[in-house]
Symmetry: C2
Subunit: 149 residues, 2 copies
DNA sequence: AACAATTATATTGTGTACAATTTAAATGAA
DNA sequence: TTCATTTAAATTGTACACAATATAATTGTT
């Protein structure tokens, strides 16, 4: 009945565990991403573009849970680095199409080994990771549903 | 055998789920914390100080997984807001003691209801949250152990 | 058609994160 | 004791996050 009590400690805050854990995993990614000159959020954008070649800022925002205030400058940096192209759609001038470049696509080959490397460095089994991921995805869904109201 | 494959999708990246989920929960906290004029990381600092009244920058860094580059400016803002005091230790001039003020301590009464409110808004049971928290804390431990090597 | 409302990005401003470096104090070995 | 090493914070610089606002294009209503 922790949540009935007067005070919930830091360590009992699920939100803190998630926050600390995601940053701790960022740290594991860093040496691999440094190799590719990528930040973690940039890597996430590429994951989307490796799947579908092309996307809009709006769609990237929905998939990653980021807004244009975060994405616009990040995508400009990625464009400057030669990883993506930004072009206004001809049909709807409000929309900016983000397309992956040859160079951006080429990084995929160097990046595919990262998930397995990280899995090994934590010493966890693939099944464990998949199970936890499903739990977190369900939690994310609950939280997003809650924030709609 | 996802991790043996050529390519792991965004949604199968546990790290992305954790990252998205922790930011989604931040969003649930926001209206409550706005009321107290706190950011989420500042709330975390107060959680520590509500437990032990006093801490050092180093200790806060270890507990929260943040470094002085993040904490120093944040603690200065909290000092400016009247929530904490920053004072060099007399025994060891390198150490900065962070002490909670009357005002900072007073916020505790307004904040204790937050965890329960959030629990209710997600519609999850306390047992579920505790279970997930234990899973994530174990994962965090594994990740931190991995990064030592 | 005219114009209000909506939509997709961009911009501005504040607050983290964190690597890398700096500074000053304390510790330890010769 | 003396000086190299270590340690705790602070500083610098870059990159997110995100609220709030602005801008321009499209859609919906009358």
């Amino acid at each position: 009945m922790k949540y009935e009590d007067e005070f919930v400690k830091l360590e009992d805050h699920l939100c803190f565990s998630l926050y600390a854990c995601s940053r701790a995993i960022f740290r594991l990614y860093r040496p691999f991403l440094d190799e590719l000159n990528l930040t973690y959020p940039q890597y996430l954008v590429l994951l989307v573009l490796w799947e579908r070649k092309q996307s809009t800022v709006k769609e990237l925002g929905e998939l990653l849970g980021l807004d244009s205030g975060t994405l616009t400058p990040m995508l400009k940096r990625m464009e400057a680095a030669g990883l993506v192209e930004r072009k206004r759609s001809a049909e709807d001038e409000r929309v900016v199409m983000i397309t992956i470049t040859e160079e951006g696509n080429h990084l995929k080959e160097k990046a595919v080994c990262i998930p397995r490397s990280l899995l090994e460095s934590t010493g966890m089994t693939e099944e464990e990771v998949i199970t936890i991921n499903n739990v977190i995805k369900k939690l994310l869904h609950n939280v997003n549903t809650a924030s709609m109201k």
